[in-house]
Symmetry: C2
Subunit: 251 residues, 2 copies
Amino acid sequence: MATGRTHRPATRSRGIPEATVARLPLYLRALTALSERSVPTVSSEELAAAAGVNSAKLRKDFSYLGSYGTRGVGYDVEYLVYQISRELGLTQDWPVVIVGIGNLGAALANYGGFASRGFRVAALIDADPAMAGRQVAGIAVQHSDELEKIISDNGVSIGVITTPPGVAQQVCDRLVAAGVTSILNFAPTVLSVPDGVDVRKVDLSIELQILAFHEQRKAGEETAGEDAVAASVPKETPKGPDGDVPVVMPA
Amino acid sequence: MATGRTHRPATRSRGIPEATVARLPLYLRALTALSERSVPTVSSEELAAAAGVNSAKLRKDFSYLGSYGTRGVGYDVEYLVYQISRELGLTQDWPVVIVGIGNLGAALANYGGFASRGFRVAALIDADPAMAGRQVAGIAVQHSDELEKIISDNGVSIGVITTPPGVAQQVCDRLVAAGVTSILNFAPTVLSVPDGVDVRKVDLSIELQILAFHEQRKAGEETAGEDAVAASVPKETPKGPDGDVPVVMPA
DNA sequence: ATGTCTTTGTGAACGCGTGCACAAAGATGG
DNA sequence: CCATCTTTGTGCACGCGTTCACAAAGACAT
């Protein structure tokens, strides 16, 4: 492994684990903060703490990118910011369209985090004629009839869907047909897309349900000792000592 | 089944894999849709397709909950809806507070997906005195001075943070101190919490950066064939024209 | 130059999650 | 009651991701 000088990529290029890719933005954020404070170098231990991960994991993650870092010293902050940015493709400009300008779409349009990192809101699109022409976050909303033209004129490859679930799939289909190959979906629907198109979904309802599961578990463990009743908070007797015979039986 | 009797949980209660928990809401959504169409039973194959997962995975997931399902027939939709709801803790009411009523907070308050599944917005909280008293989504915004009182009066255990990143940690600390044990964080910051408190984060910026990575990769592969081999499977040299010798070197 | 001390980079072991493939369960028809 | 056919539930193997633990690399002081 990089026995010597030739800081050559080695493993590099291909084969960066998906889990690592998902953490790179986290590291980048922490590094950017350090950069703004003019911190020159940082150790894997410090950076890991700032990013909320294990230091060994961080070092292994970085090892997939190459051998940046100096033993006994740590990592050069600016250099690492550049390398990660380049790896993530943030050194170029990514025009993005947001389809569905309701509450959420408008919130995203106003979200500063977009522009900060190479992403530019190229257009806001909505199916409601009444929305067309209105300004949201300083950008004029365009009608969805223009969707295909907007995509191709601006060379958009990333689309954000914030429409109601009922129309998400057809919006998705149109985006893909027009040339979009990456979609961030906020609609609570499973989107089907052809190979080669990436979809990531953000679903609040699901996140809350996962939290509820763990919350219920915590509550259940507290009152686990007492079975019958008790339970200061009417917790429904989750499943304590079991005894949960199906209340409803299928036909 | 429904043969009733022995169907004892077995593995049940404890030990449901995290990955499975994360998919239960997905199944539940698909099942609810089937229920509304009055579909009585569904096979693992059909349900898996609707939820966008592998059918073997789905069956294994359900096996952690117990042996619901009838061989040769499939699963009883209503029964399964009930079982998953109960497992996720959705048969009870979860009061939730949203802290930080900016664009995003307001969007979430208006989001219908909340109320639909056992979650109830108990309060909207903001630090801006000018916001206090204003109605958002039919709920009066309260000042953050009231935070502790609101939490305890309503028995809130789930908090949603939609504040600017700078104050997210202190809001988090106050929520936890007041008794909140599950947090959904939309602020782009790493939150540190004591053991026993769950945090899930939703970060648009990170999602976009992950998409950008894959997008760049795709673009790189397209132009990769032009140098050496036509390579039916252009796996190597994914980073464009390459030639990416470190442009900046660390000190 | 040499020794010491810090921190990286990674081999290796482990655990979780996924998917295959099939035996067992039970419905259905004759 | 038996045969057949469908679909579940799961044993097993594999691959990915995480973590430990340590040798090697290099900075720094003497």
